[in-house]
């Protein structure tokens, strides 16, 4: 693949409710900040990809209601429905097409304006599933139970993820929910859908984020700290929940394998310095770490217990606080990429990890990780 770099990246503060700001306000704030981060003006942006979802916005996103706010007036602007990591993939393709030297990718989400269970219920089949009330939490609880039973993962091991990630959030000024927790506190929080308890769940959030991608030629003119897309892939599995076993994460394994192959990575545990993954629920962190090949199948609980995934550990995971500490759903994956980019640049401030050369960002679409997108980012081409 020809070299493409992230040359600008920014996200808004993640909050429970940004009452004064609509979608477009959030998008403008993120776009402005990403341009400032890159030292660019809007006329240097060749095309724009926006990321959202019709149901979350409460309108059809293809009608480009945020086109002013993302600076796409008189430009080629299009939308990707789903997570920001997938939007960024499309942005990358547009740069690789040779038609555009730069692509702005922005994503926004206002969880505060809608009824989350009704919207995530709408992911499911209207003939066979919706009327039974299934939505994001219930489906994740089914997956958590299947995974934890299959491999003997304990609720305490999952609670450790909550303790770690909410603790990490104290050092991240944009995180919504830093919390001082203990395993006991997490374990004594009420069940929402067992085995998932309140403190195993991400919060509802508002936020937006933006990145600017550029060809090598343009990137070198824009910044002396480009963050290169070393490898990226996404892979999807069945729409109908339960067409395959829920503890089976072969779509993630496939996406990771392809991304590693592009990036020339043979042993991810040795060659990747930091991971930002989509931890909407605690059990997802060990499960996705297994799928990403950082340990064997079923080893995610022990990996978490070992302390290796702590901010000061061998493989820091979600040093930002992760989705557990703020989950503007569709921007959340783009936030993972931005966190990785800042860490690689050495610009992560108080939560900077020393010596991050290569980092992995991960996003999901659909219930229980129906689709996974894996990005390997690096400071060297």
């Amino acid at each position: 693949m020809e070299a493409v770099a992230i040359v600008g990246a920014a996200m808004t503060r993640i909050e429970r409710e940004r009452k004064a700001d609509g979608y477009a306000d959030l998008v403008y704030e993120a776009t402005r900040a990403a341009l400032d981060d890159a030292g660019m003006s809007i006329d240097q942006i060749d095309n724009v990809v926006t990321v959202s979802n019709d149901f979350f916005d409460g309108r059809t996103i293809s009608s480009m209601a945020i086109m002013d706010a993302c600076g796409s007036y008189d430009k080629n602007v299009t939308t990707v429905e789903g997570d920001g990591t997938f939007g960024a993939f499309f942005g990358l393709m547009r740069v690789l097409s040779g038609s555009y030297g730069t692509t702005l990718v922005c994503a926004h989400h206002k969880g505060s304006e809608s009824q989350m269970p009704l919207i995530t219920n709408a992911m499911f089949d209207p003939i066979y599933a919706r009327m039974l009330g299934i939505e994001a939490i219930t489906s994740s609880a089914l997956q958590a139970r299947a995974y934890m039973t299959k491999y003997g993962i304990s609720e305490e091991q999952c609670a450790l993820v909550s303790v770690k990630n909410h603790g990490n959030a104290f050092k991240n000024p944009v995180a919504q929910l830093p919390l001082e927790l203990t395993v006991e506190k997490v374990m004594s929080s009420p069940y929402i859908a067992d085995p998932i308890k309140l403190l195993d769940c991400c919060p509802i959030s508002d936020g937006a984020s933006a990145i600017i991608l550029a060809t090598e030629e343009r990137a070198k003119k824009i910044t002396d700290k480009p963050v290169w897309a070393k490898g990226v892939a996404h892979c999807s599995t069945a729409y109908h929940l339960g067409d395959h076993e829920l503890h089976d994460v072969s779509a993630l394994e496939e996406a990771a394998k392809k991304a590693y192959s592009m990036a020339g990575i043979k042993d991810p545990a040795k060659e990747i310095d930091l991971v930002e993954l989509y931890d909407a629920f605690t059990y997802m962190e060990p499960l996705w770490l297994e799928g990403l090949g950082f340990c064997e199948q079923g080893g995610g609980g022990k990996l978490t217990e070992s302390g290796k995934t702590a901010a000061a550990g061998e493989l820091p995971v979600n040093v930002s606080g992760g989705c557990l500490s703020g989950n503007p759903v569709l921007a959340a994956g783009l936030n993972r990429m931005i966190e990785c980019a800042l860490q690689i640049r050495g610009d992560a401030g108080e939560h900077q990890v020393d010596g991050v050369k290569t980092a992995l960002a991960h996003g999901i679409n659909g219930p229980c990780g129906q689709s996974h997108c894996v990005w390997v980012l690096g400071g060297e081409k």
């Binding site: 003939i127 066979y128 089914l142 859908a193 067992d194 998932i196 067409d243």
Partner: protein, 155 residues
């Protein structure tokens, strides 16, 4: 932008809805008709890999083969995974809220290779186990919907 919260206006969408008439298709209609009229389950078998899908559908995803052979499957099966749900869910179609807690499960009927999602009539997690045997309990009045199954009971 900084404004006092009291000065901010929000507009409610109210009770407006987006009504749809989703077709269940030929196979889906057969499946729902069998549930309604005969309290029986129908699946469809892939000619290539032999996998039986319940509810039946047109295409086997992994094989990309068209499916034509409808096959009967049992009203009993195995509990693959479950949860006890403690938060209320309002059915967007009816506005009715399901009483909590309720059991929710993925069930693989005997003769099927995919799971069906439905309620299970047990709310004590200690009394439910993955691998438990379950059987469908039907409503007296049936309309041709997944809700014609009242729930699955542990047997």
């Amino acid at each position: 932008m900084a404004e006092e919260k009291k000065d901010l206006i929000t507009l409610e969408s109210g009770e407006m809805a987006q009504p749809f008439n989703w077709t269940a298709g030929v196979y889906g209609s057969k499946f729902l008709t069998e549930l309604r009229d005969n309290k029986k389950f129908v699946g469809v078998k892939c000619p290539k890999c032999g996998k039986v899908y319940v509810p039946p559908r047109r295409v086997c995803g992994p094989c990309f083969e068209e499916l034509t052979e409808l096959v009967p499957v049992s009203d009993e099966g195995e509990l693959i995974t479950f949860t006890v749900v403690s938060f209320g869910f309002v059915d967007p179609a009816t506005g009715a809220q399901k009483a909590v807690p309720y059991g929710y499960a993925a069930i693989m009927l005997d003769g099927s290779d995919t799971v069906l999602l439905h309620y299970v009539n047990e709310t004590d997690p200690a009394k439910i186990k993955i691998g438990a045997r379950v059987k469908a309990v039907f409503e007296e009045q049936r309309t041709g919907s997944l809700l014609d199954i009242k729930h699955f009971e542990l047997i």
